[in-house]
């Protein structure tokens, strides 16, 4: 078995009893249109090959900085956005999942006739963007979303009764007095009551509005809830109420949660499994206690080191240099190498890193006439005068660039006004197994590739 099959075997979030959600190689690219004809000039790779499993009744925490693609992933999983590659499989049992992983492990062109038909059958009944008719309707009932901003997600012109009762009405579950009673029941489950039925969203506090959102999500008795930063707009004391409520509901109804958040203390409290995302890819995934106690990816460590915790002493906490790279042109190799504190020569140094350094050199960047890429690792930089070209080659060989970057360079030649820079080509860093159910994508401490 190669990549995906073994991945499923070792993936933290896999159980042989099947999963509520099995995400396989999910991609969501947004086209960048440019020019008078609006031709596609490139893609923003918001989600770029993400795989994980979410077993029934568990909570998976999805963490990362803003712009890492976690909200996009939530939207694709809930069917609000179409994936551009890979698939989200909903409610797959054990045997189906092993068949699925076996088939996906084989490259498309090598698949046998039987494997193809197997995959087709599975995709028809489980892959959410291929569901049709009753199956699609069933999925929409079973998967509900609670959004971050309850101001924006509740219609200000509708009464609470209409907001919470709308799903019941659409699905033909109840109407009239029956509907009202059901809504009251739901409101009571989230700690509100009959007196709130005929009010508008603006009459409630933030915590109460989030409760209304949760009541609406629960109306059709779903199995999976996508919680997209449900508490980030709330104060801590109210956040505690909502987190307790969510936990209570999960116990009562055996709900499965996909919990998207940037707050590490919240995921630590709520999640069984954690997936850390960085620029559209999974950096590290594993059981909550492993991720918090023994993180292996430097990005996870940076996140943990940067977030303040009440129980820590007053030690220094460290942030990260630089900013999140542009997802339209994600860095080669490991996507974190541009900011990584423990970067090595094999992390994927490329010509763009040189260009990035140029911008910090006063006067040098303005002298660049053009960059001719032969590959991301090999390019000619043309300058407007020979002096600038010599300055660049001097810069690259100086102490001012990281030692790892200097080591990764195979060739720097100056020819009048042109500098040729070539790095050793590096493949993308794959997820490797670090322990039971624990994977990370980092060149450090790699045991064996999966």
């Amino acid at each position: 078995m190669t990549s995906t099959g073994a991945l499923a075997e070792e993936m933290p979030v896999t159980s042989r009893d099947g999963s509520m959600l099995a995400v396989r190689g999910l991609e969501r690219y947004f086209p960048i249109r440019d020019g008078a004809l609006q031709r596609v000039a490139g893609h923003v790779k918001a989600v770029d090959g993400v795989s994980f499993d979410l077993p029934r009744g568990e909570t998976l925490g999805l963490v990362g900085e803003s712009g890492c693609g976690k909200t996009t992933l939530g939207r694709v999983v809930s069917g609000l956005s179409e994936p551009t590659g890979g698939g989200v499989f909903f409610d797959v049992d054990g045997p189906t999942q092993s068949t699925l992983d076996d088939v996906l492990a084989v490259p498309i062109e090598d698949r046998s006739e039987k494997q193809r038909s197997d995959l087709e059958t599975i995709e028809r009944s489980h892959r959410i963007d291929r569901l049709e008719g009753a199956a699609w309707k069933q999925f929409r009932r079973n998967c509900q979303v609670v959004f971050q901003d309850s101001f924006a997600s509740l219609n200000p012109r509708h009464l609470v009764r209409d907001i919470v009762g709308r799903p019941l009405k659409v699905q033909g579950e109840a109407s009239g007095g029956d509907l009202t009673e059901k809504v009251v029941e739901l409101l009571e489950q989230v700690g509100m009551g009959r007196q709130h039925l005929y009010r508008y969203p603006h009459q409630f506090s933030g915590g109460q509005r989030q409760r209304i959102s949760i009541a609406r999500a629960l109306a059709l008795d779903p199995e999976l809830l996508i919680l997209d930063e449900p508490t980030s707009a709330l104060d801590v004391s109210v956040q505690a109420q909502i987190l307790n409520l969510l936990h209570g509901l999960q116990e009562q109804r055996n709900l499965t949660y996909l919990f998207i958040t940037h707050d590490l203390s919240v995921v630590r409290h709520m999640a069984d499994q954690i997936v850390v995302m960085y620029v559209g890819k999974v950096a590290e995934a594993g059981p909550t206690n492993v991720i918090f106690d023994a993180p292996t990816h430097p990005y996870t460590r940076a996140l943990l080191g940067a977030s303040p915790d009440l129980e820590d002493d007053r030690s220094q906490f460290h942030g990260l240099e630089g900013s999140v790279p542009d997802p339209a042109r994600p860095p080669e190799g490991c996507r974190f190498h541009t900011r990584c504190p423990v970067v090595t020569p094999v992390c994927g140094w490329e010509v763009d890193d040189v260009v990035l350094r140029l911008q910090d050199e006063p006067g040098l960047f303005d002298q660049v006439d053009g960059v001719e890429h032969r590959s991301p690792f090999d390019a000619d930089l043309r300058f407007s005068d020979p002096e600038a070209a010599r300055r660049l080659s001097g810069l690259i060989e100086s102490q001012r660039v990281p030692a790892a970057m200097r080591e990764a360079i195979e060739e720097v030649t100056v020819d009048d006004r042109t500098v040729t820079v070539r790095f050793q080509p590096v493949d993308e860093v794959a997820l490797t197994v670090r322990g039971p159910g624990h994977v990370a994508a980092c060149v450090h401490g790699q045991s064996r590739p999966i």
Binding site: G206, S237, V238, L243, N244, L264, L303, E311, Q359
Partner: protein, 431 residues
């Protein structure tokens, strides 16, 4: 409030009351707040949404719009400082390496009089001082960093103009000196240019030869000062950033520009109103480090406003917890977090999820923040408090010290007068 340290008090808030006129009635947003900030310390002001922490901070610079705001009562006494004579701001033993000493009272020039209550130190009540004097203090002696740098920076001005403006407003003499002009002899035309008061006719005049070269020298001097201020905040390639507009910068970068702007004149007090709420954790950590580093160097006092208790614990020397317009508890950071005494502080700390909490067992504070329109006379926390007694709904507890540098507004620690309350219920509570 007990002050153990020998550091002089830089600002003192006394019985501050700011109300707002709304359709529903008068909202008592800040209702009797007292605290003081010592020179060089970081005071954290924490509390939930709507507890009045931002209004308190904005009152320092009179940034609360009036109306609808009403300044009901109170004073904010500020002791501005000036550059130390013996070291000219470089830092010496006399000024405790800060480069600043207390400004003398202008009425008695330091001998002691009624205006300065015999201390000889200049004392300004920020709430009543004339607008002209306040403008001198704003951005110079007291600076502010706002929550959302995207909104606080002017989108139509380049960074160069925005940061340079601070120097033109507050450092006119220095700008003229750096430009090689004698401040005493420079023509009023240039002086007005250097203090950003040129009229449109003057701007035209300044762009023609006899004045142009001097104007350019002033601009160059300002640019140099701007560059130094930006470099101070570790902005990579400040020369390039200067010509950018706010929308071209990332959130962390914008916040750095704001910090550069705020610290440009080496203020005595920096008010940071949730400076990192809009940023990612990794960027937040960098910004906090930066503020702390700059503070250590310049010995500026910081009033740090935040709703994030774990962050405040790391950043602040002393912490004041606000609830519904009043201070519930104030004390040194170590003590307040290790031994919280007010039930609200305890509730807040228990509500933060951490590894030691079992899932679903977070201790939430029941109920919601009270309406501040015509509130009950009692303790504002009554109704949500687990230790509530009869007296709590009728009398409001005062903020009284329990130990050195730790004060609490709660009857658990200061039982009310026997005449005023039914004591028996309290004994029950304490037991």
């Amino acid at each position: 409030m007990p002050i153990s340290d020998t550091a002089p008090t830089i600002a003192e808030v006394r019985n501050l009351k700011v109300y707002f006129n709304t359709k529903a009635g008068i909202v008592q947003a800040v209702d009797g707040v007292d605290f003081s900030i010592k020179d060089g310390e970081t005071l954290g002001l924490v509390g939930e949404t709507g507890c009045g922490k931002s209004v308190t901070a904005r009152s320092f610079l009179r940034l609360v719009p009036m109306p609808p705001g009403i300044q009901v009562d109170g004073s904010i006494l500020f002791h501005p400082r000036r550059i130390c004579d013996s070291c000219a701001g470089a830092g010496c033993a006399i000024c405790d390496q800060t480069g600043r000493v207390a400004a003398k009272c202008p009425a008695c020039s330091g001998t002691g009089c009624i205006t300065c209550s015999n201390s000889g130190i200049e004392q300004v009540d920020l709430l009543t001082v004339p607008e002209k004097r306040l403008r001198q203090i704003r951005g110079d002696r007291i600076a502010m960093i706002f929550q959302d740098p995207g909104k606080a920076l002017n989108p139509s001005l380049s960074i160069r103009q925005q940061v340079g403006e601070v120097f033109l407003q507050h450092r006119t003499t220095e700008v003229l000196v750096r430009a090689g002009l004698d401040p005493d002899e420079a023509s009023s035309l240039l002086e007005r240019r250097a203090s950003l008061q040129s009229r449109s006719v003057e701007k035209v005049l300044l762009s023609i030869p006899p004045f142009r070269s001097n104007r350019n020298r002033i601009d160059k001097a300002v640019d140099q000062m701007t560059l130094a201020a930006l470099a101070e905040t570790q902005i990579p390639n400040p020369l390039k950033v200067m010509d950018r507009y706010p929308h071209e910068l990332s959130g962390g970068m914008k916040q750095r520009v704001m910090i550069a702007q705020a610290l440009a004149c080496n203020p005595d007090l920096l008010i940071a109103d949730e400076p990192t709420t809009a940023l990612d954790v990794t960027v937040q950590a960098r910004i906090i480090e930066l503020i702390r580093e700059l503070q250590e160097r310049t010995k500026t006092a910081v009033l740090y406003i935040s709703h994030d208790l774990s962050l405040v614990k790391r950043v602040c020397d002393r912490v004041a917890v606000m609830y519904a317009g009043r201070i519930a508890e104030v004390g040194s950071s170590d003590e307040l977090f290790s031994d919280p005494q007010h039930p609200y502080t305890r509730g807040l700390l228990a509500a933060i999820p951490s590894a030691s909490h079992e899932r679903g067992r977070l201790v939430a504070i029941e109920g919601t923040v009270p309406e501040l329109v015509d509130p009950d006379p009692g303790c504002r926390f009554a109704g949500r408090c687990p230790h509530e007694a009869d007296v709590c709904s009728t009398i409001d507890p005062d903020l009284k010290p329990t130990e050195e540098d730790h004060a609490v507004a709660c009857f658990i620690h200061h039982p009310p007068d026997a005449a005023a309350a039914s004591l028996p219920s309290f004994e029950r509570v304490i037991r």
